[in-house]
C-alpha cells in the first residue's frame, strides 16, 4: 500500500543523524577550509553506520538495511553539510560497486578491510577525454599470464588521496567498445599507481578530486570483478543506485537552502514589511517547496522500488525509470534551490557570511557526481521508449559527460 512514513527504526536513525548534521552545520566553513571532516565527526558518523555499506546486503558484508534507509540517512546528513556524505570514513562508493560487480566473497573481504573511520574506498571510472577512434576506455587491462596489467589515466576520482583501495574500470576487450569494459580492485600500495594533484573544484570542498595514473599496475586474477551476467547492466545498477544517494544529498541541500531562504525572507524587511510578504518572493519560495517535496518523495519511491526489486516484488525497469526521473528532478531542483537562495538573499547571498553561496556551488558539483541530469533523462527516455539500454547512452561515459565518482 502507499505509505510515506519511515519505520520506527529508520526514524530513530534519522533523529541521530540529524543531531550529527547540526554539528556539521555549525562548522560548515571550517570543514570547507580544512578540505575534510574533523576526525571526531567522521568517527561519530562511522559509529552510526554511515560510510557506504548501509544498503549493501549482509551477504556482501554490508548492513543490509536497504536503499530506502540509505537515502533517508544521506538526505539527513546533507542538510547539515552537502559535502559530508562524500567525505566519510568507510568504503564509500566502492561498497556499491563491489555489491553490484563483485562476488559476495570479494565484497565481504573489502568491505571488512575498509570498515574503519580512518579507511576509505574510491571508484575510478571517468577519464580525462573520450577515446579518439573507438568507443570505450583509453585505460586498458591486458593479460599477463593469469594476472592483469592496467595502464592509463583515470580522472575525477573522489577521495583518491585517502583511499586504501580503488575499483578501477578499464577496457578488457578493445574491439567490443562499451560492452568490452571490466573492473578491478586495485590497492593503494600497488606498484605503478600514483595519485595526481588535488584539483581545485567549484564546490564540495570537503572532498578532493584527483587523477589516478596507472603505469603497468599488475593485479592478480582475484582482483577482477566479473560483473554478473551482464557487466554493463550491473554497472548501470551501480551508477543508478549511487546517483539516488547523490540525489538524496541534493534533496538535503535543497532543504538547507530552503530553510536559509525562509529564515532570511522572514527577517529581512523592505518597504515596511518582511520581503517574504511580497508575492514575487513568496511564490519563488512556494515553487522551491514544491520541487523539494516532489524530489524527496521521488527519491524515496525509487529507493523503495530497488528494495522491492531485490526480492522480485518490483521490476527493475520500473526502478530504473523512477530513478532516472528522481535523479533528474532532484539535481535540477537543488540547482534551482541554491540559485534562488542566493538570489533571495540579494547581495548578502554572495558573501561567505551566509551559507547559501556554498549551497549554490555544491549544487552544481553534485549534479556532476555519479550521473548528470542529462544522462538521467537519456536513461529515462530509453526505458520509457522500451529501446535496448545501450551502454553508450545510459552509462555516464566520458563520450558524453564525465562524472565524479
Amino acid at each position: 500500500m502507499i505509505d510515506f512514513e519511515p519505520t520506527e527504526e529508520q526514524a530513530l536513525m534519522v533523529t541521530a543523524v540529524s543531531q550529527l548534521a547540526s554539528k556539521l552545520r555549525e562548522r560548515i566553513r571550517q570543514t570547507e577550509r580544512d578540505h575534510g571532516l574533523p576526525a571526531e565527526l567522521r568517527l561519530a558518523a562511522f559509529e552510526m553506520g554511515l560510510g557506504g555499506g548501509v544498503a549493501v546486503p549482509e551477504s556482501h558484508g554490508g548492513a543490509g538495511l536497504g536503499l530506502v534507509t540509505a537515502v533517508l540517512l544521506d538526505e539527513t546528513l546533507a542538510v547539515g553539510d552537502p559535502a559530508a556524505p562524500f567525505a566519510l570514513g568507510g568504503p564509500g562508493a566502492l561498497a556499491g560497486a563491489l555489491h553490484e560487480l563483485g562476488t559476495p566473497a570479494q565484497a565481504s573481504e573489502w568491505l571488512g578491510k575498509l570498515s574503519s573511520a580512518d579507511r576509505c574506498g574510491a571508484v575510478a571510472w571517468s577519464e580525462p577525454r573520450a577515446h579518439a577512434t573507438r568507443a570505450g576506455f583509453c585505460t586498458t587491462a591486458t593479460r599477463s599470464g593469469d594476472d592483469w596489467v592496467l595502464s592509463g589515466v583515470k580522472a575525477f576520482v573522489l577521495n583518491a588521496d585517502r583511499a586504501d583501495a580503488f575499483v578501477v574500470f578499464a577496457q578488457v576487450d578493445e574491439a567490443a567498445g562499451w560492452a568490452g569494459i571490466g573492473a578491478f580492485i586495485v590497492e593503494r600500495a600497488a606498484t605503478g599507481l600514483t595519485v595526481g594533484e588535488r584539483k581545485v573544484t567549484l564546490g564540495l570542498d570537503a572532498v578532493g578530486a584527483f587523477d589516478l595514473k596507472l603505469d603497468g599496475v599488475k593485479v592478480g586474477p582475484a582482483a577482477r570483478l566479473a560483473g554478473g551476467e551482464d557487466f554493463c547492466r550491473s554497472a548501470l545498477r551501480f551508477f543508478v543506485k549511487e546517483a539516488l544517494k547523490v540525489s538524496a544529498r541534493a534533496v538535503g541541500l535543497s532543504q538547507a537552502a530552503f530553510d536559509a531562504s525562509l529564515e532570511y525572507v522572514t527577517n529581512r524587511r523592505a518597504f515596511g514589511k518582511p520581503i517574504g510578504h511580497f508575492q514575487a518572493v513568496a511564490f519563488t519560495l512556494a515553487d522551491r517547496a514544491m520541487d523539494l517535496e516532489a524530489a524527496r518523495h521521488m527519491v524515496r519511491r525509487s529507493a523503495s522500488l530497488w528494495d522491492a526489486a531485490a526480492t522480485g516484488a518490483a521490476s527493475e525497469r520500473d526502478a530504473l525509470l523512477a530513478s532516472a526521473q528522481a535523479v533528474s528532478m532532484s539535481l535540477e531542483g537543488a540547482m534551482r534551490a541554491g540559485d534562488d537562495a542566493v538570489q533571495l538573499h540579494g547581495g548578502a547571498g554572495f558573501m561567505r557570511d551566509y551559507p547559501v553561496e556554498k549551497y549554490m556551488r555544491d549544487a552544481k558539483q553534485l549534479g556532476l557526481c555519479s550521473m548528470t541530469k542529462e544522462q538521467a533523462d537519456q536513461l529515462g527516455a530509453a526505458v520509457a521508449l522500451g529501446v535496448a539500454l545501450d551502454p553508450a547512452v545510459v552509462l555516464p561515459t566520458p563520450d558524453l559527460q564525465a562524472v565524479f565518482t
Partner: protein, 414 residues
Amino acid sequence: MTIEFTLTKRQEELRSAIGSLARNVIRPQSLGWDRAHGIPEEFLLRFTQMAASMGGTAGAWGVQGLGATGEEASESAEKKKKSGGAMVSTVVAAEELATGDPALLLCLPGPGLGGPPVRGSGTPEQRERFFSVFKDMSAGLKWGAYALTEPGAGSDVAGIRTSCRKEGREWVLNGRKCYITNGARASWNVVFATIDPSLGRAGHRAFVVEKGTPGFSVGKIEDKMGLRASETAELVLEDCRVPEENLLGGEEKYQTKEGFLTAMKTFDNTRPLVAAMAIGIGRAAYEHAVDFVKERYVLSRPIPRYAAIAERLARVGRDLAAARILTLRAAWLADREIANAKEASMAKAAGGQAAIKACMEAIEICGAHGAVAEDQQLLEKWFRDIKVYDIFEGTGQIQRIVISKRLMPDLRSF
C-alpha cells in the same frame, strides 16, 4: 509503517479495470462528445451502473462519485489498511479515467462539488433531503452543483456580491453566478450569497437552491476552449425566494466564520482529485507522443537530434511523476485525516502545469501531425482540455498563495 509505493491488490485491480475502460471504451467516443457538446444520457447511465457493479471504494469514481450516496467516506483504521485508503484510491482512479476523457468525470451524475458542503455543513435533515435525490435515477439522471464564482468574484471568493435577505420564512436572493459545472441541469445548486458585502466572510450564507425555485433561471451555456462535453452554465437569481429550511446548516451555523470555511473546505479534497485528472490528461498526451516517436525513429543511438527529443520526453514523464507523487501525498494525508491544505495546493499547482507542458510538448514532438492529422486529433483535444486545469479549483497563482501562507504563518495577505 514503512516507506512504500505499491498499490494494494484491490487498488491495482481497480486501476487496471478503469484504465482499460478509459482507453478502450471511453477514448474512442470522446471526440464525438466534444463535438456534440455533451455525453448521451444512456452512456452516463450505463457507465454509472457499471461503476457500481465493479464496486469501487466510495470515492473511486472521481468527482461526482465522491460520496454519491451522501455517506461519509471515512473508514476505520483496519479498513483503511485493507483498502489502501479511500482518497488514494480516488486519485488513482481519477487519473486513469481522465486518460479516457476528462469531461466524462465532470458529467457524471450525482451531487458533484455540491456534495462536500452539504455533507460537511448540512443538518441531518438537509443531508437526507438533498442526497435522497440521487438514490433512484432510473427515471432520469440527476446532478448537484456548486455555485460560488460570479462575474466580479473568481479567485477572491470573499468578494461575492450575490445578496440574500430574510423575508418571513424565506430568503430572497439576487445576483449572478457563472462558470457553474452542471449548473443548468442540476436538481439543486449550492449557492453562496452575502447578507452584507461589508461584513466580508462573516456575511456569507450558503443555500441549496432547487431547480424550479421562483426567480431562479439559467443564463447562457458557455462556449469553451476545451472540456466542451461538460456543461458550464450561468445562473441568474432575480428575487429568487428560497425557503429558510434550505439555508445550509441553519442560522446558528453562521454566528462564526464558518460560512466561508464551508466554501474553502470543499477544496482540500477536490484539489488532489483535480490534480489527478490533469495528470491523466497529460499522461495520455505523453503516451501518445512516446508511441509516435517509437514508430518514427530509432532512438537507440546517441544521435544529437534524437537525444534532444528523448530529453524532452523524459522531462515530460518526470514532471508528471513529480506531480503524481505530490498528489498521492496529499491524498495519503487526507486518508489519515492530517491537514493537507499546503500539499493539496502543491499537487494542484504541479499537476496543472506538468500536464499543460505534456500536451504542448506532445503536439510539438508530433509536429504538424499533432495538430491536424485525423488520427491525431485527440492530441489537439487534450491540448484544449488541459488549460483550465491550471485555472479552476483555484488558479496556479492561488495555490501559491495558499502554500506561501502555510510556509509563513504570519503572512496574512499580500
